[in-house]
């Protein structure tokens, strides 16, 4: 059985937007998106001591290999990076297209995603990828089990907990409540270098440059600006009536 885990290399430290491209400045240091570490951990738990193959997959520039190596150090067996300058600036439509092509090529039984990406706060990629792959998708998994040819997921919704089942091959996005990611051991870190790390370009995947990057995207960032000022911020001193003043304020905003 093969499990593919989609991971993202995201900027570390205080995020900055590049005013010229209006996109996130990814020039500085980066790290494995910490939500994706939950997905890697879950794949490794499912793998256990068996010969299930866990492949870490990422789209990004060459330095995304750093995050893939972290996944390898945790215990993943192989890493695949799809890297091509033409893919920079891809939105959901373009990214999901490219990622689906890579995953199709891998032919994994189970594809795992983390809860969200800490950079664009996107929590939508898996549903788009599952649609392109033509596979069932379940998100917000807080418990995951594979049984025979199907996956069983317990997920949290606004109303409580649902238990769902889907036949493999399937796509599952895990919530950060599902597990506590392991620290890579020293042996793991040292062994990561030796594990296979493939890098593919668009040509290697048979994807056209017009289908990715800005050309392949359907959304765009038009302008960046300051957030609206926090309205009419008020500061008062308690003269014995502060509690009433607070309630009136909340009532005004229909918060109580």
């Amino acid at each position: 059985m093969k499990i593919a885990v989609c991971v993202k290399h995201v900027p570390e430290g205080p995020a900055h937007l590049d005013p010229s491209t209006k996109r996130l400045d990814r020039a500085g240091e980066g790290a494995l998106n910490h939500f994706d570490a939950n997905a890697v951990e879950e794949a490794l738990r499912l793998k256990g001591e068996s010969d299930i193959e866990v492949v870490a997959v990422s789209l990004g520039p060459q330095k995304a290999l750093d995050s893939l190596r972290k996944a390898l150090a945790m215990g993943a067996d192989r890493a695949l990076l799809v890297s091509d300058d033409a893919a920079a600036g891809s939105d959901l439509v373009a990214t999901s297209r490219l990622l689906a092509a890579a995953l199709e090529r891998e032919g994994a039984d189970l594809v795992l995603f983390g809860q969200q990406a800490s950079d664009a706060d996107g929590a939508v990629l898996w549903a788009a990828v599952a649609e392109r792959l033509g596979r069932p998708v379940v998100s917000q998994a807080m418990e995951l089990a594979v049984d025979g040819g199907s996956v069983r997921v317990k997920r949290q919704t606004e109303f409580g907990y649902d238990t769902l089942e889907a036949p493999l091959p399937a796509v599952v996005a895990v919530s950060d409540a599902i597990n506590e990611p392991r620290y890579p051991s020293l042996k793991g870190i040292m062994g990561a270098k030796k594990k296979p790390q493939d890098v593919l370009s668009l040509a290697g995947l048979g994807v056209d440059a017009g289908d990715v990057g800005e050309a392949g995207s359907r959304t765009t960032v038009l302008a960046l600006g300051e957030p609206p000022a926090r309205g009419d911020a008020r500061k008062i001193e308690d003269d014995g009536n502060a509690a009433q003043a607070i309630v009136d304020f909340l009532a005004e905003k229909r918060l109580v």
């Binding site: 570390e12 430290g13 500085g28 240091e29 790290a31 506590e180 990611p181 392991r182 620290y183 051991s185 020293l186 042996k187 870190i189 040292m190 270098k193």
Partner: protein, 563 residues
């Protein structure tokens, strides 16, 4: 008057020395183990890579991992902080064939320099005294240089293991055989959390300690192998910021005087530096000797105060603080160097061994040169038929024959003459330099920083109030260091927790990261010291002033990138 040294921390070097305990097949074996991915450690790894490439038969005997560098920070550079104006000679010697200075990530050669004596409102220029002349030196961010050297080390075949701390020294039959790395995933009380990962025995044929200032295992090794120098080591605390600025700065600046007080009873010695970092950034820092006596002194807040000086305000006008950090610098000089720089299986390099020239405020090039020489000695020890003891002792000889020794000898009493003033402003000091140290003033007694008797003034009342634009509070500074250490880790700071109020105040003001707070009165003349260890940026000041810093979980602490 209390002395912090009367309240020693619950710490014993012996607790950090052990035989390997992992089963033999679980130990991780490497050829040469370097502890610390700073300039010394990476220079060692780079030089070893060069030597191994030229001598493949030695490579075979070093196994799968000929050179491993462990680093407690998130990556090389995360815990590196300095000015820095670097003398290029060691870099040229290390990288000369493959890289020119222009290829390194520097901010260019020093364009010019000024020295000022500050008063509250004025800045009186003085000609740069001889030790302070920096023509021919280059401006770097040490953190960036560390990242660059890390990449070169990896290209040369070294394996860098970040987020890995060296907790204990592995000693077997009187010989250092490696280190035990720190555990990960322990809770506040020391219990094992769900993702607990025990440390490992990392064994090597030669271990090189390049831990930087307050090196944990360096201190342990000095105790274990009796390597203490003539004088006790003492330190300065450096606190600095990196700013984006509107107007480029066209030279490096050093200042002395205000806001430090001149009176002898205070023993406040030090000065500031302001260096351009390209056209749109500037770094400003303040360095103060930790032998100061006023418990209400806060170097963090003195730096904030310094920025309100009209001359400095102008430099920073329209700018924005982008990073902050703090680190101690060993300042005992020549007489505080360890009596030997080697022990069986062990070599000591760089700041950890105290190789810093305080009057010139230089140490990076000594670190690099010592790392390079350590590599050569380690390599000799690995040759077929070598006697390890002889090979390793050749490191001491090499260092003694190098510019490291000559330079440190030349300035050996300078700080003591001026009571540890690190900017030399007087004729005598100049004379010492120009005579290359032949002017003898006799050796003055040196005392550990924690032995200084304390006084308490209301100095803290005059620190400027934070405004979030020019003046910042300590917690904002900790945030600006990139520190997001997990809060529920065990406390890595060893400290006597019930002390007289002035000692508690000393620590609370001293720590630039607000780790210590004066807690409740215990009713017997002591107060409780509250500790918030996750604020710690591992500067090491506490070790100088009566406590003991040990390495927290690997990956904790600051994430410097521009310091």
């Amino acid at each position: 008057m209390s002395r912090a040294s009367n309240f020693p921390p619950p710490f014993s070097s012996a607790d950090y020395v052990t035989e390997p305990t992992d089963p033999a097949d679980e130990r991780i074996e490497v050829g040469v183990l370097v502890v610390g991915a700073g300039p010394a450690g990476l220079a060692c790894a780079i030089r070893l890579g060069q030597l191994i490439e030229q001598n493949p038969e030695v490579a075979e005997r070093l196994g799968d991992v000929p050179v491993a560098v462990i680093e407690k920070g998130k990556q090389p550079g995360s815990h590196l902080l300095s000015g820095a104006v670097v003398n290029p000679r060691a870099l040229r010697r290390l990288l000369g064939e493959r890289f020119r200075m222009e290829d390194l990530p520097s901010f260019g050669p020093v364009p010019g320099e000024s020295v000022y004596v500050l008063t509250r409102r004025a800045a009186l220029p003085i000609p740069p005294p001889p030790p302070m002349r920096n023509h021919g030196n280059w401006i770097f961010s040490l953190s960036q240089l560390g990242r660059f050297l890390g990449e070169r080390a990896e290209e040369g075949g070294a394996v860098i293991l970040p987020e890995t701390s060296a907790q204990k020294l592995l000693v077997s039959h009187g010989r250092v055989v490696g280190v035990r790395t720190g555990d990960k995933g322990r809770g506040r009380e020391g219990g094992e959390l769900g993702n607990f990962e025990a440390g490992s025995d990392l064994v090597a044929k030669v271990t090189v300690l390049a831990e930087g200032t307050q090196g944990h295992l360096t201190g342990v090794a000095i105790d274990r192998f009796g390597l203490r120098g003539e004088d006790p080591q003492v330190w300065e605390l450096g606190v600095k910021e990196v700013w984006k600025v509107a107007k480029p700065l066209d030279r490096i600046i050093h200042t002395m005087g205000w806001p430090l007080r001149a009176g002898g009873k205070y023993r406040e010695f030090g000065g500031s530096f302001i260096y351009p970092m390209g056209k749109d950034m500037v770094t400003i820092g303040l360095v103060v000797g930790l032998d100061y006596r006023d418990a209400s002194l806060s170097v963090h807040d003195l730096l904030q105060e310094l920025k309100t000086h009209p001359k400095i305000r102008k430099i920073l006008a329209g700018g924005e603080r982008v990073q902050w950090g703090a680190k101690t610098i060993p300042s005992g000089g020549f007489h505080a160097l360890p009596s030997r720089l080697h022990a069986p299986g062990l070599l000591l390099c760089g700041d950890g061994a105290g190789m810093v020239n305080i009057p010139r405020l230089k140490g990076v090039h000594y670190a690099i040169e010592s790392g390079r020489l350590a590599a050569e000695a380690a390599f000799r020890a690995l040759q077929r038929g070598a006697t390890p003891a002889t090979a390793l002792s050749s490191y001491d000889d090499a260092v003694r024959g190098s510019f490291i020794w000559d330079d440190l000898y030349e300035v050996r009493n300078m700080r003591q003459v001026f009571g540890r003033g690190f900017f030399v402003g007087g004729a005598l000091a100049s004379a010492m330099t120009m005579s290359k140290g032949r002017v003898e003033v006799g050796k003055l007694p040196a005392e550990p920083d924690a032995d200084q008797p304390l006084l308490v003034t209301d100095r803290d009342k005059s620190y400027p109030a934070p405004d979030g634009a020019l003046v910042f509070d300590k917690l904002s500074s900790v945030f600006a260091s990139g520190n997001k250490t997990r809060d529920d880790q065990p406390n890595h700071i060893r400290l006597e927790r019930r002390v007289p109020s002035d000692v508690a105040q000393l620590w609370a003001h001293m720590c630039p990261a607000q780790v210590y707070e004066v807690g409740a009165d215990e009713g017997d003349g002591t107060v409780r010291v509250e500790v918030a260890p996750s604020n710690c940026v591992q500067c090491g000041a506490i070790t100088a002033k009566g406590g003991r810093l040990t390495p927290p979980e690997g990956g904790s602490g600051p994430e410097y990138s521009l310091t």
